[in-house]
């Protein structure tokens, strides 16, 4: 791997996830051989469109997957392989060493419990804190995310707080047990621009302050360019391109990454026609031989339809899965 950190917090090798489709019992190959690693204080963006396997790949790390899911590959974390751990062992890791944040912070909190109760849950469960020590940690966490008068806030309910404050509470819960890895799945999708910017800044600050490894799953290249160091572009369960954010924005090598970056409105003149990607992603239960993007690719050649492309490596750790990746 080409991560700049000698000892990454998490290192994933050859991850495969298959799921059973309820409609017809077909086997869906949701993630097909994915490799990545994230170091301390680093942020990896996993980007792609609906159904590309980005959330499945991220959730496979903590095995928050449907029962039918089969996971293969190695997930090196904290000196062990999470892919072989039992659900019981994973339960002790989830929320403690690996924290998760899901979509809208406004709905992530339970309206019937005070902020203090919700903040206490992981502390009691994982760290056995109680009484004075618990209270002190609650106050400390609220201060860490920049909430003033924490004593009062602990006794309040979510509806008594603004959106920005709820974001910070969700952040405080996520870092409650000093996790090493934080997975944020589409953290800002439902938010308006100001709320989105505020939430991304919070995640960035938490990652920097606590040396968290952060994985952000998103469909938005803007989110990637704002807070990520590295990016993994997924298509049909494969990593089609991977590397440092700057390199990929400067010189995307895979035609899919190129198309994604080109279809953002500010890339063209106002009112002009936006470049599009025609067609649909392939059925994950019946993946074509060769490159899965071949049917929609503007640069397709005969070989793409029959032979799976090998990863092509570039300077700085960028790699792309394309027969024509090194053409300019």
């Amino acid at each position: 791997m080409t991560d700049t950190n000698a000892q990454p917090v998490i290192r994933v090798e050859d991850l495969y996830v298959s799921l059973r489709r309820r409609r017809d019992g077909a086997t869906i190959r949701a993630v097909n051989g994915v490799n990545f690693s994230v170091g301390r204080g680093r942020t990896l963006g996993i980007v792609g469109e609906s159904g590309c396997g980005k959330s499945t790949a991220a959730m496979a790390l903590v095995r928050l997957l449907p029962k039918s899911a089969e996971v293969r590959g190695a997930i090196h974390f904290d000196g062990r392989d999470l892919a072989t751990e039992s659900q019981g062992a994973l339960r002790r890791i989830r929320g403690r060493k690996i924290a998760m944040i899901f979509q809208d912070p406004m709905v992530a909190l339970d309206p019937l419990f005070t902020v203090g109760d919700q903040l206490a849950e992981p502390l009691r469960e994982h760290l056995d804190l109680d009484g004075e020590a618990l209270h002190a940690r609650q106050v400390e966490l609220l201060q860490a995310v920049g909430i003033s008068s924490p004593e009062t806030r602990l006794k309040q309910y979510p509806h008594q707080m603004s959106g920005g404050m709820l974001q910070r509470i969700v952040g405080a819960i996520a870092i409650a047990c000093n996790p090493e890895l934080l997975i944020a799945d589409e953290p800002t999708t439902a938010l308006d621009p100001t709320a989105q910017a505020g939430y991304l800044e919070l995640l960035e600050r938490l990652s920097e302050t606590y040396g968290l490894a952060l994985i952000v799953v998103t469909h938005d290249m803007g989110v990637v360019s704002r807070i990520c160091h590295d990016v993994m572009v997924m298509y049909a369960g494969q990593t089609v391109e991977y590397g440092p954010v700057r390199a990929i924005f400067d010189q995307p090598r895979h035609p899919y990454t190129q198309a994604l970056l080109a279809s953002i409105p500010h890339a063209v003149e106002p009112g002009a026609c936006l470049p599009t990607i025609e067609g649909q992603p392939p059925d994950l239960a019946a993946l074509p031989p060769g490159c899965p993007f071949a049917a929609r690719c503007p640069k397709v050649v005969d070989r793409c339809r029959t032979e799976a492309p090998p990863p092509v490596e570039f300077a700085g750790g960028q790699r792309a899965l394309c027969w024509r990746a090194d053409e300019r």
Partner: protein, 332 residues
Amino acid sequence: MTIPILEVRDLKKYYAASAPFFHRGERPVVRAVDGVSFTIPEGETFGLIGESGCGKTTTVRTLLGLEKVTSGTIRFAGEEVQDADQAGWRRYRSSVQAVFQDPYSSLSPRMRVWEIIAEPLITAGKMSKADIKTRVAELLEVVGLPNDAGERFPHEFSGGQRQRVAIARGLSPQPRLLILDEPVSALDVSIRAQILNLLQALQDKFGLSYLLISHDLDIVAHMCRNIAVMYLGRIVETGTVAQVRDNPQHPYAQALFSAVLPPHPDKIKPRIRLTGPQPSPLNPPSGCRFRTRCPVVQPICAEIEPALEQTRAGSRAACLFAPRASQEEIDR
């Protein structure tokens, strides 16, 4: 001067809030939309932006007649419609259609696609069955759906195709104004571009006017000629996209546009942070409504409610401290 397709003047929509128990006197009033004015010239796209709860959606709901206007006027093609009789209102409503955010919930799952598209025509009761059939086939083609799509149900389509169905339905009574409420935010990036291109093409083809509501400021900038920024039920700045986006004069518009995500990691700019919560429209601050969160607030802002004035930068902004245009600049 040609008559604009839509002219909204001093639109207000107040709701009576539920009164506290044992409350005496008048019930508290939520001022969801509080004196909004804008004009959409025929054939243009006008964008309405602002954070959640600023009154964009309420404005749209009053335009669609889903809410009764508290006061103010809505002029459509020169004709006042807010107090129109039933016939006048029906005429207006067939000329103004809407496409909503989520094509998964805005289309009836029990109706075939052709029924969904034909419903407004059947309700109007003016066309024969054969004509309706021809019209539906035309509409399917116009929005880029295959001919046999009409016989299928919405669940058989992808999100992008469903949004095409919703657009075809919107177009079926031959409207002149289409209200697009977050039309692509539920769609994937590549599909998004297809739908935006389709909307542009339809506008050129039929001379349609659009009112676009979106959180995505890039999309608004791409589609619109003029935009208005709303805050707490009022427009705080309005002008062309170039004026308002590139050189906003109102501190709220400045903060909003500073939050746009960068197109490249080298273009990350410092953001203007707003402190404090958004005040309640139940009890908006005195004077300027933005003053409780404004980074450049002055004592006088609590006293005077600023009106929209022509600024030197070309837009109109409601801020006492936005540099005003001189009389000569206005005349020019």
